[in-house]
Amino acid sequence: MLERLLILSAIVFCIGMYGVLSRRNIIAMLMSIELMFNAVNIALVAISRYVTPAAVRAAGPTEANAASVLTGQTLAAFVIVVAAAEVALGLALLITLVRQRDTVDITQVNLLRR
């Protein structure tokens, strides 16, 4: 089961990375980055489930073990928050870019070259 989930995660990650590296449109790149984040989330949750002992899993989380049992899920929630912040920041930059240079093409944004 874990294996399949990790393969799924890898596939989604690669699709996202391909999008980041190949799309010229910055909006499409941001969307691809979201895919990569979510691939990571899948992996985190899957591994968390895998490392939790069956007995604990059956009994469900208690006050005492919640911190250790829900580590992966908690981390995934953090990633989602960070991703949201990142998109907010990225879109803000994008809007500024469009106002300044009237383009969403990443290849036109090479100011560091000069």
Binding site: V20, L21, I106, T107, N110, L112, R113
Partner: protein, 695 residues
């Protein structure tokens, strides 16, 4: 007992005169300029008194007045010391240096006073002699002449502060040199002597010839000094042997005992190094070329250089370090041969020059050759005796030539003649100097030259050879001494500077004209004193018999040497040879029985060779400096610098710039390309981790 403070004061007084003149009198400008002369003369008068006291103290102490050397600094177990070494040799040198220097300073009070360029009787005489057009020219020259020292060139004492400051430094350096107890200390003063002679030879620094002569003197003597320095380093490299025996490697007294510890080979090299220094300083062949050119300085400076300070330093060093030289027969033979050859070589060049100062310069070189010869045949005391006598009569001769210049404003003997009519004092004193130089009984030059010849004759094969050199030189010396006398003082007056075309005159002197009068008393008095010394110094200082107040052979006994015996055959031979030289000069230049021009034509190749001074200057400047050094060494160095050194630097720069340029191709500014790079990098790292089984 002569206190050590008094000995230091001998050095300090002339040095103080230098400091006062340079830092107080000179900034005060024209009103105070005249004081400079009195400052130096006063300082030297006190120095002379102290020197006499030192001599008496050494005489009473029967030998060295021992002063403990003071620690200057210590390097590990080696102590560098400075101190005073006052022995009979030093005492004699102190007397020579301070008395000659004092007389020269007094003379300079008159000589260095400038004559007004315009107005007065000078302008009138010029109008008479040179015509109104030339007078106008001279006016232009006078106005164009460079202004020295911030004091108007017209000011009669404009030269005083700088001149007397340098003279103070020069004398202080020489006195410090003779009093040094340590070879390094001696070397420091040795170099200071070189520096001050440079400053004084180049005193008229606005004349290109004077600047060149000063540079030449400095560089040529520096070549010899390099040998001196190597000898010092060589001694230092053997310090372990000396220090093991409880000796200080550079202390002169300790070095006197060092020869057995070092072995003959090492001593020979040290002796040769020191001798190289002396060859440069005392103008011996092949480093003699600077001395004739050193005439560019003011005449009293030449007088001091030739008599007591600069050139005497080399002979003094030989005498001072003689216990070391004594251990090396090779070094002594080389010294004797160099000295004998120089004596002969330099006199021959003196036969043909027309400049009165250059005649004297070549005679100095040859007389120094005699002194070196004496050291080489193992008689340093006789060398010192000759130095002592030579100092007086050579100083006298130079002051005489200055006095002549004061009247006729040229040094060219072809423009002189008949001067004895209005310069009787100069004539008589210079005549005494010339007879002494020629070595005629009973004047000073006779006694010491004769003893040198005796010492050479009694030596081995080398001694006999240099004896012949010495006899040959004696003949020519007598000849040119009287050639000088006849050309300068006898016959018809040939016009002095008035006979020199305006175009050929030195700009500074262009406005001068002949004054038919004797020099002022401030100049003639030192000459009369020196003439007295030139007559008496030989007979009184080292008489072959008791003179009442002075015991027989006082000089030799004072320097702790057995008295030289008088050798009648050699005395007679040398006197006859000298008289022969005088006779030939009389025939050629007085009675004109033999035509000098005819002789020059008959012996033309030889005459040309002598006039060009054996092409030594051409050899040095044309061949060694231009060809070997400039075209060879310096151009090779230039090529290495341009191509190898600069090439390496350029390569470093080129590499940096082009590596950067190549690397800059990667930085496109395309963020996706960077992303690909990062992704590929991650893949590579992963592959490495997986295949190497890490993590």
């Amino acid at each position: 007992m002569f206190s050590e403070w008094a000995a230091w004061a001998i050095i300090a007084l002339p040095l103080a005169a230098f400091a006062i003149n340079a830092f107080i009198v000179r900034p005060l400008g024209a009103p105070a300029a005249r004081l400079a002369g009195y400052v130096t003369v006063t300082a030297l008068a006190v120095t002379l008194v102290l020197s006499v006291l030192a001599l008496m103290a050494v005489q009473d102490a029967h030998g060295t007045a021992g002063y403990e050397p003071h620690l200057w600094f210590a390097v590990g177990p080696f102590d560098m010391t400075i101190g005073i070494f006052l022995d009979p040799l030093t005492a004699i040198m102190l007397i020579v240096v301070s008395s000659i220097s004092l007389l020269v300073q007094v003379y300079s009070l008159g000589y260095m006073r400038r004559e007004p360029a315009h107005g007065g009787h000078a302008a009138e005489e010029r109008a008479v002699h040179a015509g109104a057009a030339h007078a106008h020219d001279a006016h232009g020259h006078g106005g164009d002449a460079p202004v020295g020292d911030g004091v108007s060139r017209e000011h009669p004492y404009a030269d005083y502060p700088r001149y007397f400051a340098y003279m103070g430094l020069f004398t202080a350096s020489m006195l410090g040199l003779v009093l040094s107890s340590n070879l390094i200390q001696l070397f420091i003063f040795w170099e200071l002597v070189g520096l001050s002679s440079y400053l004084l030879i180049g005193f008229y620094h606005w004349r290109p010839s004077a600047a060149a002569a000063a540079k030449k003197a400095f560089i040529v003597t520096r070549i010899g000094d390099f040998g001196f320095l190597l000898a010092l380093l060589y001694i230092f490299s053997h310090r372990a042997e000396l220090m093991a025996a409880g000796l200080n490697p550079f202390d002169i007294r300790d070095l006197h005992q060092a020869a057995p510890l070092l072995g003959p080979g090492v001593v020979t090299w040290i002796a040769l190094g020191l001798f190289a220094g002396a060859v440069g300083k005392s103008a011996q062949f092949p480093l003699h070329t600077w001395l004739p050119d050193a005439m560019e300085g003011p005449t009293p400076v030449s007088s001091l250089i030739h008599a007591a300070t600069m050139v005497a330093a080399g002979v003094f060093l030989m005498a001072r370090m003689f216990p070391l030289f004594e251990e090396s027969a090779t070094a002594l033979n080389l010294i004797a041969l160099t000295g004998g050859f120089t004596a002969l070589f330099a006199t021959s060049m003196g036969l043909v020059v027309h400049d009165i100062k250059r005649v004297l310069a070549f005679s100095t070189v040859s007389q120094l050759g005699y002194m070196m010869l004496a050291v080489g045949v193992g008689a340093p005391v006789i060398a010192m005796f000759h130095l002592f006598n030579h100092a007086f009569f050579k100083c006298l001769l130079f002051l005489g030539s200055g006095s002549v210049h004061h009247s006729v404003h040229t040094f060219d003997m072809r423009k002189m003649g008949g001067l004895k009519r209005w310069m009787p004092v100069t004539y008589v004193t210079v005549l005494i100097g010339a007879i002494s130089l020629a070595g005629i009984f009973p004047l000073a030059g006779f006694w010491s030259k004769d003893e040198i010849l005796v010492a050479a004759w009694e030596g081995d094969t080398v001694g006999r050879l240099v004896f012949l050199f010495g006899i040959g030189a004696a003949f020519m010396t007598a000849f040119y001494s009287f050639r000088m006398i006849y050309l300068t003082f006898h016959g018809e007056f040939r016009g002095g500077i008035d006979a020199v075309p305006m175009a050929e005159r030195i700009p500074d002197e262009a406005h001068h004209a002949v004054h038919r009068h004797e020099s002022p008393r401030v100049m003639t008095t030192p000459m009369v004193v020196l003439a007295g010394a030139a007559v008496l110094s030989g007979i009184v200082a080292n008489a072959p018999f008791d003179l009442g107040i002075v015991p027989a052979h006082w000089f030799a006994h004072f320097l702790e040497e057995e008295a030289p015996h008088f050798n009648w055959p050699i005395a007679i031979v040398s006197t006859l040879v000298a008289l022969g030289g005088i006779g030939l000069a009389t025939l050629m230049y007085r009675t004109n029985a033999i035509s000098a021009e005819g002789m020059a034509l008959t012996l033309k190749p030889f005459h040309v060779l002598l006039s060009r001074r054996y092409y030594m200057d051409e050899l040095y400047e044309g061949l060694i400096v231009r060809r070997v050094l400039y075209r060879g060494v310096f151009q090779a160095a230039d090529w290495i610098d341009r191509h190898i050194v600069d090439g390496t630097v350029d390569l470093a720069g080129w590499l940096g710039r082009n590596t950067g340029r190549a690397m800059a191709q990667v930085q496109t500014g395309q963020v996706q390309l960077y992303g690909v790079g990062i992704a590929l990098g991650v893949v590579v790292i992963l592959l490495v981790l997986l295949t190497q089984g890490g993590g």
